[in-house]
């Protein structure tokens, strides 16, 4: 027995256990963030429409998400009689699961030492972190398309088709804009990308012209990718009667809702990592104490995330929905060539940049 115990590498066991705990905490934090995001959205949009948002349940309406959750959990879960039951059930899971697992590779703070043990603010630091995030994000479209198809409803199907067309179109521009950053950083490891911005003393999104364009394209494509207003064509209430989730109710519907908001968080987090220097503080420099930096870093990351979320809400309460052909024109005829040209320009700049000169070290 003691021989067997000696065979176990306790460091690996510790790492696995830590990862499990981190994954559990992250998933729960994401869902809590989703719940309070719905409240924040309703409150901020309310104020933008010169009214109070929900303020009846608990102090300042703070218990509203809990009330909503209880209501949704107890609602009747209807499956249309002509629907494909299996696909109809799996679709919301396919939509939510990718949204939740993207966050595994997002570093929200610098690696430090806690009680002489290494501590990392990510679950997995894989070398192809950026590829992983992009690949998983594009899996989300299956949930929506299958939901639209399995509902056996023409409006749902139209919503699903719109979603697939929109998400595939905008993925190109988004990927090319993010590649600009990859070219600048010389790495697709997300932690390394943030470190590069830290070393260069300038976030890639603020790098003159090429960075600005890449950031703008990524942001617009990211909003379209997460199906948020003004790009919420797949679920256009006025035209399609909620689109792909017309035939969903109760908990399955709330899973789509969760997926949308968690996707917003993911897009914001990726934008911050790629373009705004991650946990790099926008003002001031590091304290020089790794332990303290390890606490300040995530706080700054969360503040940036909050600013992004506010921006999403702000957009939603300002702009009307795009027409379908204009959406396609914007994606294919404007953002895609712009991102492509920008990528080529960046590649030329980086190739010609003198070695050892700021900011490309």
């Amino acid at each position: 027995m003691s021989d067997l115990l000696a065979l176990i590498n306790w460091n690996i066991v510790l790492a696995i256990v830590t990862s499990f705990i981190k994954a559990f905490v992250i998933v729960n934090l994401l869902l809590a963030a989703f719940a309070y995001m719905t409240l924040t959205e309703r409150k901020v949009m309310g104020r933008m429409q010169v009214r109070y948002g929900p303020n009846r349940v608990g102090p300042f309406g703070l218990l509203q998400p809990i009330a909503d959750g209880i209501k949704l959990a107890f609602k009747e879960d209807i499956t249309p009689s002509q629907a494909n039951i299996w696909v109809h059930t799996i679709a919301p899971i396919l939509s939510l699961a990718p949204a939740l697992i993207i966050f595994a590779v997002i570093p929200i703070g610098p690696s430090t030492w806690v009680f002489n043990q290494p501590w990392t603010w990510y679950i997995a630091n894989i070398n192809v972190g950026f590829l992983y995030a992009t690949a998983i994000a594009s899996l989300g479209v299956y949930g929506i398309v299958l939901a639209g198809w399995a509902s056996n409803n023409k409006y749902s199907l139209l919503g699903g088709l719109r979603a697939s067309a929109q998400m595939i179109s905008y993925e190109l521009a988004q990927g090319l804009a993010a590649l600009t950053v990859v070219v600048m950083a010389g790495s697709i490891n997300l932690y390394e990308i943030v470190e590069q911005q830290n070393r260069a003393y300038i976030p890639f999104g603020l790098f003159p012209v090429v960075g600005w364009i890449a950031f703008a394209v990524y942001l617009v494509a990211g909003i379209a990718e997460s199906n948020r207003a003004p790009f919420d064509l797949p679920e256009a209430e006025g035209e399609l009667g909620a689109g792909f989730h017309t035939e969903y109710s109760g908990f399955k519907w709330s899973m789509f809702f969760m997926a949308e908001y968690v996707n917003m968080i993911n897009i914001s987090a990726l934008s911050i990592v790629l373009f705004l220097g991650g946990w790099w503080p926008a003002v001031g420099l590091w304290t020089g104490y790794p332990g303290l930096d390890g606490i300040i870093g995530p706080v700054i990351f969360v503040l940036k995330l909050a600013a992004f979320m506010f921006f999403f809400i702000w957009l939603r309460s300002t702009f009307p929905r795009l027409r379908y052909d204009r959406l396609m024109n914007l994606g294919w005829k404007f953002l895609f060539p712009l991102a492509l040209g920008n990528l080529v320009l960046t590649a030329i700049i980086v190739a010609l940049w003198p070695r050892g000169l700021w900011p490309f070290i």
Partner: protein
């Protein structure tokens, strides 16, 4: 309220000009929502905050009394005739001289307003020759049954004043 003056945008020059014009338009739109967010919401927090209704608001009916406590209503049924929704039913009767209800010869023996039918047009008030009927500023009229929405005379009558004998100018 802040209104944004709409001007015809100048012809954009070329692709760059078009992009700049579009961006300006987007920023303008977003500044509008941001400005509105800074304003105080116009919502009235109803049960806690009460509306300040105008004096001539047409709400719940009330049958007024004279200063001596006698009813103003003389049971003429003109309000019932004027009512376009046929919500009022009045039954007049001879005023007993020994214990009068109103100052006239007759009084309203029955006075019923069906609040489900009433459209609060105020024609009954206009029709009333003795200014007995008034529409008050009471607006919380919701209830749980149709029966309870039928307001009888004792519900509609204004609360009686303390009858002071020296004030009385009536015979007896």
């Amino acid at each position: 309220m802040a209104y944004v003056e709409l001007k015809a945008p100048p012809e954009p020059a070329g692709l760059i000009g078009e992009i700049v014009a579009d961006m300006t338009a987007l920023a303008q739109g977003m500044s509008v929502t941001l400005r509105h967010m800074m304003q105080k919401p116009v919502t009235m927090q109803y049960p806690e905050e009460r509306p300040n209704l105008p004096d001539r608001h047409r709400g719940r009916h009330e049958l007024e009394r004279h200063e001596n406590g006698l009813e103003k209503c003389v049971g003429c049924e003109l309000c019932a005739l004027a009512c376009p929704a046929k919500a009022i039913f009045v039954e007049g009767a001879e005023n007993p001289p020994e214990a009068p209800f109103s100052i006239g010869e007759r009084y309203a023996k029955t006075y019923v307003v069906n609040m489900i039918r009433c459209i609060f047009c105020g024609f009954c008030v206009e029709a009333c020759p003795t200014e007995a009927l008034q529409l008050k500023r009471v607006f919380e009229l919701a209830d749980y049954s149709r029966q309870s929405m039928i307001y009888t005379k004792d519900m509609l009558l204004a609360p009686a004043h303390k009858k002071e004998p020296e004030d009385s100018w009536l015979p007896g």
